[in-house]
Subunit: 407 residues, 2 copies
Amino acid sequence: MKNVIVGQSGGPTAVINSSIAGVYLAAKELGSDHIYGMVHGIEGFLKGEYIDLKEVLDDEKVELLKRTPSAYLGSCRYKLPKFDDAKDVYENIFAKLDELDIEYFFYIGGNDSMDTIKMLSDYAKENNKSQRFIGIPKTIDNDLPITDHCPGYGSAAKYIAASLKEVIRDNASFGVEKPTVCIVEIMGRHAGWLTAAAALAKGDDCEGADAIYLPEDTFDLDEFKDRVKKLAATKSSVVIAVSEGVATADGKFVCELGADNLAVDAFGHKQLSGCASTLADIIHNETGLKTRAIEYSTLQRAATHIASLTDIEEAVAVGKKAVEAADAGETGLMVTINREAGSEYKTSFGLYDIHDIANVEKKVPASMIDSANKQLTQEFIDYARPLIMGELTPIYTNGLPTHLIRK
Amino acid sequence: MKNVIVGQSGGPTAVINSSIAGVYLAAKELGSDHIYGMVHGIEGFLKGEYIDLKEVLDDEKVELLKRTPSAYLGSCRYKLPKFDDAKDVYENIFAKLDELDIEYFFYIGGNDSMDTIKMLSDYAKENNKSQRFIGIPKTIDNDLPITDHCPGYGSAAKYIAASLKEVIRDNASFGVEKPTVCIVEIMGRHAGWLTAAAALAKGDDCEGADAIYLPEDTFDLDEFKDRVKKLAATKSSVVIAVSEGVATADGKFVCELGADNLAVDAFGHKQLSGCASTLADIIHNETGLKTRAIEYSTLQRAATHIASLTDIEEAVAVGKKAVEAADAGETGLMVTINREAGSEYKTSFGLYDIHDIANVEKKVPASMIDSANKQLTQEFIDYARPLIMGELTPIYTNGLPTHLIRK
């Protein structure tokens, strides 16, 4: 028997589906009769929406799954209520688990999703339920505590650095004309891990970003303007990476800076630009310099075509580790990636109490940030570089990477 | 002897450097003593800025060059003046060519750049100059006449379709929640070739864009709103591709629609959003639907990491053809790509009078546009699909595609 169920939750990533592959492969190895997948996470499961992965996957499709962005099973943003507030929700979930003879429950997600594992494992303990609950880390934001890093981050970081190299080349093409200032906006409202990945672009064949602004540092508009003006005075191409989450000392996001006195448009609505576009406008209007704003938007979390092989392999491995842990009798834990000491990149996989992880946010430590020069330190490069290494070549059909979709 | 010079002009593309590789390889074969490269096109050359490609390239570097986005030599946007207005400019250019014993002059670019070849070849004829001038087509916009298509287009089209598949997967992840409308803005102010490439995303593993708006059709805001509302009533994910150049019947760009009554912001400036962002705001404000605007920006012309091999090979071939043409005594022509009849994709390379090409713009023909359904017809798919076929795997260093840069 040993039926299992796996679900995905929170923002999609380029490699979240590789953890489904890991759960599927390990559970098949274990001899599970059914390997269920919740459709749209716990929210869909509550409505009875699930599929049996054994009916839809085979070795070839697992290879496609590892090359498919976003959430193959569908995601959700659903926070379980407190026990006393909604007993029926928990009874509903456990009745369904019992009905399907599900013994192990796996949930792939970030901080919020780990709360689901915490609530369900706590409920099971209090109510003498036999099911085991293990969390599988996943977030491009890389902001889960305890684990060295999160699956999904390496691939997003690889996309950000690779695209930034291309943007830097593009922006440098018109050297004869007056300087062009290009501002690239990268995801991460509170933690700057993704924006920090811009620092990986620098190398023998790339001058790198001229400045990198993380949300961990307070944003000072005057400092920013001064820096850009100085850069533009000596360089024909200026490229700056900013986190969508940069905020001024009074706690205002930069994208809100321009909005205060913004009157309504022809349709009677306020128009709010992104932070790169706000900063590009400010620089252009003050200096007359040609500016361009680029927002990586969902491209950075969906670009499986240039995913990191290291990331994909680790995403598969944490899925497998979760199944092994449940089968060893564990519950109420999240799988962690532990980096071994030494200059060579080596990892092992561990487990940690979900209560210390759910709803906690890990930011970029000060030792990795060169605040004065708006760059990252070597410590960050040493930390992040191994995570973007390797590629898994897409399988092309009609000139485009092939994906696996639910029919 | 047979010294040659090559320059790049206009907007950068993912494969413009492959045409430099083509010129270099053919000229080396020809036994040229010097293969010069103008730094920043004719504008830089006028200031005496050039390098000798024989001193900086070798076989290994040619492979990197083919994998390097933007303009390796640097680009410019410089329109040669009329003969009578600036005799000194022409005398300066030809004196430099004579001084360097340059016999063949190649210029890689789009409509505007071909004007340079026209002016210089005309001047040479009128003034009995021996130099020969051949244009090499390059533009992601694909709007040059006569030639079946332009190097640069296939790679941009491949990036657009591949990214759109990823965006569509990403946008579909939250099916349980209310519909998300994602509007993707693609380059092309007057010709819709790039936006049309969104149609290539559709296939067995992708539902494709729900609507594609080209600048060739007049944009009707009411039709757009009705269509989005109808789509959102039946689908949980709506993805729409729009050209940056879509304009209403009175000739206004959509990005200007919201700006009329837009008052100044906190800094005293008007903020102008892009067209996708304007449309996303309009839909959100009218319907309350969750919307997202994505602008591919320069990513679509710089993404050499997923360039089309067909495109790269053709870009090399048009460079070689230009050298052969000049060596055969031709001048005042542009190289064209001619598609042979039949269902199999086969091309040959021709030459055409530059006077019929310079400053002429080719739009997407009506037969390729399904205006009623806001889609492209099979004729377009059959035209564009072969152009995105094949890949040239990047050479990775430290986890990122390696480029060749001028030191």
